[in-house]
């Protein structure tokens, strides 16, 4: 008891210390940089977007200043002592004191809040929501000799801070190091030897060297890998079945866009809304594959609407992750806990995305159907026919219909089943005498019905009636035995929406036996020229073409007006608890909406890349910077919101952002070159004891950037130095060797069909990306599973990585091929020296060669004693000479050096 009392007394004493207030005059407190971070860290989890305990929230100004249940506001501007908010911070009783049951705020923190209130409690805007301005470039004259007098804007900003910190920059990296650094950063590959030599021998300027690298098509392949992480691109659909998906044309579109240096504003608009461009081209449609990289759930027993909604939600979240560095997923269930975005605004954004045709169906419709040259020729003959017998407008219609086949009615929407059900919860499957309804069908008066079905038996007749079993017959399908075929029948003209009654007859079938499975119906006008000679052939040609697509790329297609979906707010984020109706809208506190934009995805894309949007350019600059320096100017790459780390160089971030939008015209190649021509980028990456002590995280960039290579670069580089790397571009994903049993499907077996010939050695970006089982060596080197948008791969350093580069047959094959590049000579020393130089682009010291020579000799000794070791060497079918084998062992070691796996 005594002890208890005295301890309690101590606490009171402690509390009194907290009460002590310093009365010195205080300078102006800044809300955004000083108060907001404190509120976010200490108060907002109970008084913010999620919880508003005691009715108090510090998320929005109007909420913070409002009266509480007690009738008084918690903050009385100008009067800290009268403000309840300050009073509760200094309560003695831990039950009363805020933060509730958490450590008390420090004296300085309380002082800061008090000062802020005393000074009028002025609210402010978080820096990232204020559009960037082009700050004046600090003069370099006061900076460093090493950087010369010719001011590079980046060096002005970086140099100023460095000087303030009393740091000096590193000298420029040796040309060979810089050459490898720039080549890996731009093309993902080591430099071509001739190009390298002309730069290192100073026959070519650095600027020209960069231009050559930027012109190389390897550039697009490298930078696509970065973008594809954001786009969550994969060659499979995800979820349980995770079957293959043919969306590689989108990946190829990204590679081409990077190589063409497509301005980022256009790059944005096409990916978000290519289908809404006037008369969209095939490329513009394929670009919308960006948002068809959402997963598709084909698992039996899944509700398609649930996963359609999941995909739409992913599109909202990903759009904001990718373009705005803003975590929208929080707002799905409640207002944003930290950033000024309200719950309803999430659904207003969702309304932009909620009107596309896709419905999580197994055909992944809508898809862009690409045709072979031959089929395309046939299609053109139909188009010509329509142009001649009908009109140019009609011709365009039929051409587009052949490529997109929309709008269509998915039959998973059928209801009121009698003797039949959805098969696998996906397709309409009626038995003999079975029926179902498809409600509210609008044919737009079209009189041709195209449908997609599969039937294991002959003799089924499906009758389509208007509104019910007694209704007029509108069409009849006599189904032939077929495996997923598009067929066509005439359909009675209907000018108003109606309920379609579907009934099946096949007396040959026993009870509970499916007559067929029907996937969708699509209505279109008849081909013109019905009475003309050749019509039947043209009709057949058209149907043949529809049944022979070469590629099928999932794309976005907007619902026509008669198929519009309404969007409602989801209470607590649940799609089953739909609330208030909402219409498309953007959070205008981020950027204003221009009335000239249409309220659709294209308008949204225009809003994202408008001059007034403060987040897009900053996001891009920050992430590109991180690709070169290993960390962003804002280190939280995924978030620029109020919980983000403040930028280390805010003026530089803003300068580059404005420059990107104006002078650079949104061109990424220009942005890269701008950064890479700075002295900051060109510094040596050598550390010193002093710099370790003074700036261990290299916040001030007094050390040049060193980065471990990405999973893709590690593979590509190994194949490149071994001269195995294929130059073939584009096409379906390939399957280079991977161990058996990695991708074992329970009932489908091993689905990894190892690619043959050149396809074994393609660049990593072309490797088949299977979501539930990504390529093992990529996973070891931090690649993600591409199920959701990945903004930043956290680089790790693990023993499993060592096992990949030491023992993965791909890397062994590369080491062996690398060794075989060198014809046998009497001087292993000189061979080792060349091999080292060819791998690392630097001449090894005597000492290094000696170390590797010791390894070489040990290997020779081993193979002399145990020649059987050479049989099936490195898992190949060869039995090499012991000298070749020993050199392969050395190559394997060299390809595991830190210098090889990183770029200095």
């Amino acid at each position: 008891m005594k002890l208890k009392n005295s301890l309690f007394f101590l606490i009171i004493l402690f509390g009194s210390v907290l009460l002590y207030r310093c009365d010195s005059p205080n300078s102006e407190v800044d809300f955004s940089s000083q108060v907001k971070p404190l509120l976010n860290a200490k108060c907002i989890s109970c008084h913010g977007g999620v919880k508003k305990n005691a009715g108090f929230s510090v998320l929005f100004e109007e909420e913070a200043m409002a009266s509480l249940a007690t009738g008084h506001p918690a903050i009385v501007p100008g009067q800290a002592e009268k403000s309840r908010m300050i009073q509760v911070l200094t309560e003695n009783d831990i039950e009363q004191r805020m933060p509730y049951r958490k450590p008390a705020l420090s004296r300085e923190e309380i002082q800061l809040l008090s000062d802020w209130i005393d000074q009028g409690a002025k609210w402010g805007t978080h820096w990232a929501y204020v559009p960037p301005i082009k700050n004046e470039i600090p003069s370099l004259s006061s900076s460093f000799e090493e950087w010369g007098s010719k001011a590079h804007p980046i060096d002005g900003f970086i140099g100023k801070k460095m000087r303030e910190e009393n740091l000096v920059p590193n000298p420029k990296a040796p040309l060979a190091v810089l050459a490898r650094r720039a080549a890996l950063d731009l093309t993902g590959l080591p430099p071509n030897r001739i190009l390298f030599d002309s730069f290192v021998n100073q026959q070519m300027t650095y600027s020209t060297y960069l231009d050559r690298l930027l012109e190389n098509t390897a550039f697009g392949e490298h930078w696509a890998s970065w973008w594809l992480d954001l786009a969550r691109y994969a060659d499979s659909r995800g979820y349980e079945k995770d079957p293959a998906r043919s969306i590689w044309p989108y990946r190829d579109w990204v590679i081409r866009a990077f190589n063409q240096d497509m301005p980022f504003d256009r790059f944005t608009q096409l990916q978000l809304a290519g289908d809404l461009m006037p008369n969209p081209t095939a490329d513009e449609l394929v670009a919308t594959g960006f948002h068809r990289n959402t997963m598709n759930n084909d698992e039996g027993g899944t509700e398609d609407e649930e996963f359609r909604v999941a995909a739409i939600i992913d599109r909202v979240n990903t759009t904001f992750d990718v373009w705005q560095s803003t975590t929208m997923s929080c707002v799905q269930c409640h207002s944003h806990p930290y950033d000024p975005i309200k719950h309803k605004q999430y659904y207003e954004l969702m309304a932009f995305f909620n009107n596309t045709r896709d419905e999580d169906t197994p055909d992944e419709a809508p898809i862009y159907r690409g045709y072979s040259a031959n089929e395309e020729k046939k299609l053109q003959s139909v188009v010509e026919w329509v142009k001649e017998k009908g009109s140019a407008e009609k011709a365009t219609y039929f051409e587009r219909f052949a490529h997109v086949l929309e709008p269509k009615f998915q039959l998973h929407n059928c209801t009121d089943f009698v003797l039949g059900e959805l098969s696998d919860s996906k397709y309409l499957a009626l038995w003999n005498n079975g029926s179902a309804y498809l409600r509210n069908v609008d044919t737009q008066g079209h009189t041709s019905l195209y449908f997609y079905y599969s039937a294991g038996v002959e003799g089924t007749v499906i009758t389509l009636r208007k509104n019910g079993p007694k209704g007029a017959v509108l069409g009849q399908l006599a189904l032939q035995k077929a495996n997923w075929t598009v067929a066509k029948i005439p359909f009675a003209k209907q000018d108003e929406p109606f309920d379609l009654y579907i009934e099946a007859k096949n007396n040959r079938l026993g009870p509970e036996q499916n007559t067929s499975r029907i996937h969708w119906f699509a209505f279109a006008p008849d081909l013109p020229g019905k009475k003309e000679k050749g019509y039947v052939a043209i009709e057949k040609t058209y149907l043949d073409v529809l049944n022979a697509p070469e590629s099928t790329t999932p794309i976005l297609v907007e619902n026509p007006s008669f198929m519009q979906r309404e969007t409602r707010l989801f209470e607590r984020g649940s799609w089953l608890a739909q609330g208030e109706l909402v219409t498309p809208n953007v959070p205008e506190n981020i950027a204003p909406w221009d009335v000239k934009w249409e309220k659709n995805r294209l308008g949204l894309a225009q809003w994202l890349v408008s001059d007034n949007n403060p987040l897009t350019a900053r996001t891009l600059v920050n992430r590109i910077w991180a690709q070169l320096f290993g960390k962003g100017l804002v280190t939280t790459l995924e978030d620029l919101g109020t919980q983000s780390e403040p930028p280390t160089h805010p003026e530089l971030l803003d300068w580059l952002s404005v420059d990107l939008m104006t002078t650079q015209q949104w061109r990424i190649k220009t942005l890269l070159k701008t950064i890479m021509t700075s002295s900051t980028y060109q510094q040596s990456s050598q550390w010193s004891e002093e710099k370790h002590t003074r700036d261990p995280l290299n916040t001030f960039y007094a050390v040049g950037p060193k980065k471990r290579l990405t999973a893709e670069q590690i593979r590509d580089q190994a194949l490149y130095v071994a001269q195995l790397l294929s130059k073939k571009m584009y096409g379906p994903g390939v399957m280079p060797p991977q161990p058996d049993g990695v991708w074992e499907h329970q009932y489908l077996g091993n689905l990894w069909k190892e690619s043959k010939g050149e396809d074994r050695y393609r660049r990593a970006v072309y490797t088949f990306y299977k979501r539930t089982s990504p390529y093992p060596s990529f996973v070891s080197f931090d690649a993600g599973s591409r199920e959701v948008c990945l903004i930043n791969r956290t680089p790790t350093n693990t023993p499993l990585q060592a096992l990949v580069t030491l023992n993965d047959p791909v890397f062994l094959e590369a080491a062996y091929a690398f060794a075989r590049r060198y014809p046998y000579s009497n001087s292993p020393k000189s061979i080792i020296s060349s091999l080292y130089e060819d791998a690392l682009y630097s001449t090894p010291s005597e000492e290094r060669v000696a170390l590797l020579l010791t390894l070489y000799e040990a290997a020779i000794k081993e193979y002399t004693a145990f020649p059987e070791q050479l049989i099936a060497f490195f898992g190949t079918e060869d039995t090499p000479e012991k000298e070749v084998a020993a050199l392969a062992v050395v190559a394997n070691a060299v390809m595991n050096l830190d210098e090889f796996l990183t770029r200095s």
């Binding site: 959701v788 060497f873 830190d898």
Partner: protein
């Protein structure tokens, strides 16, 4: 709240402020330069004589850390029956359901409910197994699990677990990552991130599968937004036990040693030049890889176990089996692996064929796990390991008391559909109240009527036993602290000793 309670709370909040995981890890990373250099490469200063670089988080992200609170267990073996085992044929005895067998399901159970496959009005399906009360606890176990009956007093049942997901993939994700959507770290990743692992020559988070990969794919052992070093490492019974573990033809152990020495010597030269501590980490990782190449095959080799142990588990050497995996789990835990996750495929008893019928195939599945699980509990116990290990058994959801009807058709075999309303899981080992049974379902086993337990409750309890407060154990990502249990989870004191 008494004054004393307030006081202790005050002290706790004070200490909390100074020791979060993140601080610890961050501090380590910053202090690295000098320490690492002197210790790793032999130039020891006197005060750091005993310094082992493997125990430094910055050199080795899996270095062990002390639990933030008192921990009851050091490691976890999680047995997941992929596909969702039928509680109604194993643990949740429902005599009333037997009486309703073959009668149409009452509309009240179907109204407003969604099932994966059931459409229309299905019939009720009585228990397809015999049950008896066993052990001192008198808990019910069916005759599908005769061996398990002998160890029933070791475990604590949760009879009314529920989940809001009724498709395999999302439900498995929820069970293992706390969210039904992709992108979150798995339980094992959280645990190895928070605690590291004891044996640096083995992965800290091992995954053993029998029958195939779970429906949700490798994301169920993925690291989500945590660094990828914390993802589960699949150890395999066929081929290399860990991918790329085996040296290639032409490289003997002694030659490999020389390869690594050359790599590390050259890397050290680079370190002297660049003074980049990441190079030291790489040197350390290559040494660990070399040791792992020896240790992993040793641990994965069950042939060296005595015959009576092999017989106890019923192992099938050379095959991929759940029995083998149980024995491997014991060996791993014995060697200091932090988290061993077993997935056994084939529990999706829809009754579409013989293998998935609850009265046929399910019995085989039960036979495949009955002996190994019993052996695992006994074997851990006899080694004194059961008290420091937590065993968790369950699926991603349960199964309906109704017989499945698919596409409205009559089913040839007896099967049950997916059911998230109520199912059984059990826990055993350190800190668990032996012989407990918590929660109860209604007479037909449709819903929990008492002691309903959510997936997050179980996760909170697992973390608690490992010494974490699940509400404090967070990771900052996208501007907010994330935790395994999201905003939910209550510790299940009812089953804690």
């Amino acid at each position: 709240m008494t004054d004393l309670e307030k006081l202790s709370l005050e002290l706790k909040t004070q200490s909390l402020a100074s020791t979060t995981r993140r601080h610890f890890i961050k501090d380590c990373a910053l202090g690295l330069g000098g320490i690492a250099m002197s210790s790793l490469l032999g130039a020891c200063t006197s005060s750091r004589n005993n310094y082992d670089p493997r125990l430094n988080r910055a050199l080795n992200p899996l270095a062990p850390l002390p639990p933030p609170h008192f921990a009851k267990v050091k490691s976890v073996i999680y047995l997941h029956m992929v596909g969702a085992p039928s509680q109604l044929e194993m643990f949740d005895y429902k005599p009333e359901l037997a009486k309703l067998h073959n009668q149409p399901c009452p509309a009240s159970l179907l109204d407003g409910k969604k099932f994966a496959f059931i459409r229309g009005v299905p019939n009720m399906l009585g228990p397809q197994a015999e049950f008896e009360r066993v052990g001192k606890s008198g808990n019910w176990v069916s005759d599908n699990l005769p061996h398990f009956k002998t160890v029933v007093d070791e475990v604590a049942f949760l009879k009314a677990v529920h989940t809001d997901q009724f498709n395999h993939g999302p439900a498995q994700l929820l069970m293992h990552t706390g969210s039904s959507r992709f992108g979150r770290p798995s339980l094992g990743s959280w645990v190895t991130y928070g605690l590291g692992t004891e044996n640096q020559n083995l992965p800290g988070f091992v995954v053993l599968t029998s029958g195939g990969t779970p429906d949700a794919g490798k994301s169920v052992w993925g690291s989500g937004f945590l660094p990828s070093v914390y993802q589960g490492v699949q150890c395999r019974s066929k081929g290399d036990p860990v991918l790329y573990l085996k040296d290639p033809k032409g490289v003997s152990r002694s030659l490999k040693k020389q390869v690594l020495e050359s790599i590390n010597a050259l890397n050290y030269k680079d370190y002297l030049h660049y003074q980049d501590p990441e190079i030291l980490t790489r040197i350390n990782q290559y040494e660990m890889a070399y040791r792992m190449q020896i240790t992993v095959p040793e641990v994965m080799n069950i042939n060296t176990e005595p015959d009576y142990i092999k017989a106890l588990y019923g192992v099938e050497p050379g095959k991929e089996s759940f029995a083998n995996n149980c024995l491997l789990a014991r060996k791993m835990v014995e060697e200091g692996v932090r988290f061993v996750q077993l997935y056994d495929w084939g529990w999706d008893s829809h009754g579409t064929d013989h293998g998935t019928a609850v009265d046929l195939g399910l019995k085989n599945k039960c036979r495949q796990i009955d002996r190994p699980i019993t052996a695992l509990l006994l074997d851990l116990k006899q080694r004194g390991l059961l008290d420091q290990t937590l065993i968790v058994w369950g699926g991603e959801f349960g199964r309906t008391p109704m017989q499945e009807t698919r596409e409205g058709k009559t089913m040839q075999y007896k099967g049950r559909d997916h059911h998230g309303e109520a199912f059984t899981m059990w826990l055993a080992g350190g800190g668990i109240k032996k012989g407990a049974s918590y929660g109860q379902t209604d007479d037909i086993g449709y819903s929990g009527v008492e002691g309903r337990v959510s997936v997050h409750d179980i996760q909170a309890t697992i973390l608690h036993l490992l010494g974490f407060n699940h509400e404090e154990f967070t990771f900052d990502f996208q501007g907010r602290p994330f935790r395994l249990t999201d905003v939910e989870g209550t510790i299940l004191n009812q089953i804690l000793a």
